[in-house]
Amino acid sequence: MTAFLVRRILGAVVVMWAVATLVFFMLRILPGDPLSAMLFDSGDPAMADVLRAKYGLDQPLYVQYLKWFGLLLQGDFGASIYGSRAPVSQIVLEAMPRTLSLAFLSFVIAVSIAVPAGLLSALRRGSATDHTVTVVAFLGLSMPDFWLAILLIIVFAANLQWLPAIGYAPMSDGLWAWLSHLILPAIAAGTAFSAVIARMIRSSMLEVMSADYIRTAEAKGLRRTRMVLVHAFPNALIPVITVMGIAFGLLMAGAVVVENVFSIKGLGRVLIEGILNRDYPVVQGAILAISLIFVAANLIVDLLYGVVDPRIRFQ
């Protein structure tokens, strides 16, 4: 188990290093350096040279890379070159809890809808329930998350006025304040994820329910609820967990986009604003932070998979 753990963690570290390196080089290989953005293309050349020296942009690329990487390891992402000039690490640390809150709530809502829906449609295969779940899942997968976000705002914020349409409140303002701002974005971000998981649970349950050990359980007269929940469902979850990493990606992508609809200044909003302002340090920081969440989530899924299915651990 330890070897498995170490291998997976090392793998995740390598992916993060590769992302950081790719981001560094891609932003620098392309024509137009960050200085032209800083000087709004109108600064005089002498000033540009001074700034270039100040930021070390006159040095060879590999020296810049090593320096940048050294600072990165110390948690120094540089400072925003637009507006506030705040340190990027501070911007990212402020945004991170918002995105994580959104992703967490989204996950909880999505799973609590997907599990019963998937189970019901597998157990009542061919019934009206099954067809309804299938169609709704198809719709959920085809519905752009930002559109769903707008529909939710039209119905629940603009017309019914049950929930706020924009903004974010931290947990310290009270649980309801936090929750009420996040419910609509969480539903919008998690719908596609929920659809994928429900469909996965359905097909996986159908496969498990025709296994020999379920026939045995049925033959010895086990109660149906016990058979489904104790014997079938845990085994059906194994393939579901394998797609969980990819599906979680959907949810995170949803969170990144939906934040922009609800004006929640999470990592997604920070990233898009950074891109629109050509604020490269912020863009880099946001990309690295979002990537870190992905890599961490994939790592957790991998480890979970090792826990649920011992065969993986001993390969």
Binding site: L27, L141, P144, I150, L151, A247, A253, I272, I275, I290
Partner: protein, 308 residues
């Protein structure tokens, strides 16, 4: 009848006449199978019809659209009416006309990006699978890296690097969908690589290029076609997301994502601006997914990446 029967090498071995006959029969039965699959499956039928109408509308947009998409009239935020079936936006522009013109961008970007991703990705995948060794190792490392992130996020990252605009959006979305094709092509190449007909081709002295393009490629098309179909819908979605976020084609080309994004300030007064553009996106994506599902059944393919 498998696609392998259409392999030119096998055809000449069987004798031209017999092969032609078998080929004709195969074509006929396959055409019949398509039609039957379409008729039996209402979802596929719906997808086929919707996409057909949308494509025609997009191709002939200047003649079909009831108004000029950028023409401003003195009737801001008017709801749906006979003159303006889907209503009018805040600048007095006809929404239906704007959506019909938006279809051009969506379909164009969807098809071109997937075509580019397919050519590059399949090329990479076949080369990696066929040559093995370090080519395979490098390709796989890269694909694994990209695989860890959803396509839409990759597209946003790439636009962050390249900048906005039609060409950059197409490049970004193409690259974002590359890994799906490379992965499938590599996997399929590994399975057909040791088939007898490949060995036979090698023995007759065929070059690597000939083997890859004439013997491997034709035999791995089924899962690639299914993946391409599914990918078009997600590429359309990716373009809509980029436009919606302000990272899209341009601020004065009407695209579905941009129209939806512009409507945000008015949705409490003008629901049609928030509802119809999204409906167009969803019905398009849904139609393509329905078609993809039908294709999967007809071509008997299991592997295709859903949703990401």
């Amino acid at each position: 009848m498998t696609l392998a029967t259409l392999d030119p090498e096998i055809r000449s071995a069987e004798g031209e006449a017999a092969a032609e006959e078998a080929l004709a029969a195969a074509r006929a039965s396959r055409r019949g199978r398509w039609r039957r699959a379409l008729m039996r499956d209402w979802k596929a039928m719906f997808g086929f019809c919707f996409l057909g109408i949308l494509t025609l509308a997009a191709l002939f947009a200047p003649w079909i659209a009831p108004h000029d998409p950028n023409d401003m009239m003195f009737m801001m935020l008017d709801g749906p009416s006979w003159r303006h079936p889907l209503g009018v936006d805040d600048l007095g522009r006809d929404l239906l006309s704007r959506l019909i013109h938006g279809a051009r961008v969506s379909l164009f970007v969807g098809v071109t990006t997937v075509a580019a991703a397919l050519v590059l990705g399949v090329g990479m995948g076949i080369a990696a699978g066929w040559y093995g060794g370090w080519i395979d190792a490098i390709t796989m490392r890269y694909i694994d890296l990209q695989w860890a992130f959803p396509n839409i996020i990759i597209a946003v990252y790439l636009v962050a690097v390249f900048g906005t605009g039609l060409a950059n959006v197409i490049v970004a979305v193409s690259l974002a969908f590359l890994d799906d094709f490379a992965r499938i092509a590599r996997g399929m190449t590994l399975t057909v690589k040791h088939q007898q007909y490949v060995d036979a081709a090698r023995v007759t002295g065929a070059s690597d290029w000939r083997i890859m393009t004439r013997h491997i490629l034709p035999n791995i098309t089924a899962p690639i076609i299914v993946q391409a179909t599914v990918s078009v819908s997600y590429a359309i979605l990716a373009e809509a997301v980029l436009s919606f976020l302000g990272l899209g084609v341009s601020a004065d080309t009407p695209t579905w994502g941009l129209i939806l994004s512009e409507s945000r300030s008015f949705i409490s007064r003008a629901w049609w601006l928030g509802v119809f553009p999204g409906l167009f996106i969803m019905l398009t994506v849904l139609s393509i997914n329905f078609l993809g599902d039908a294709l999967r059944d007809v071509l008997d393919v299991r592997e295709a990446r859903d949703g990401v």
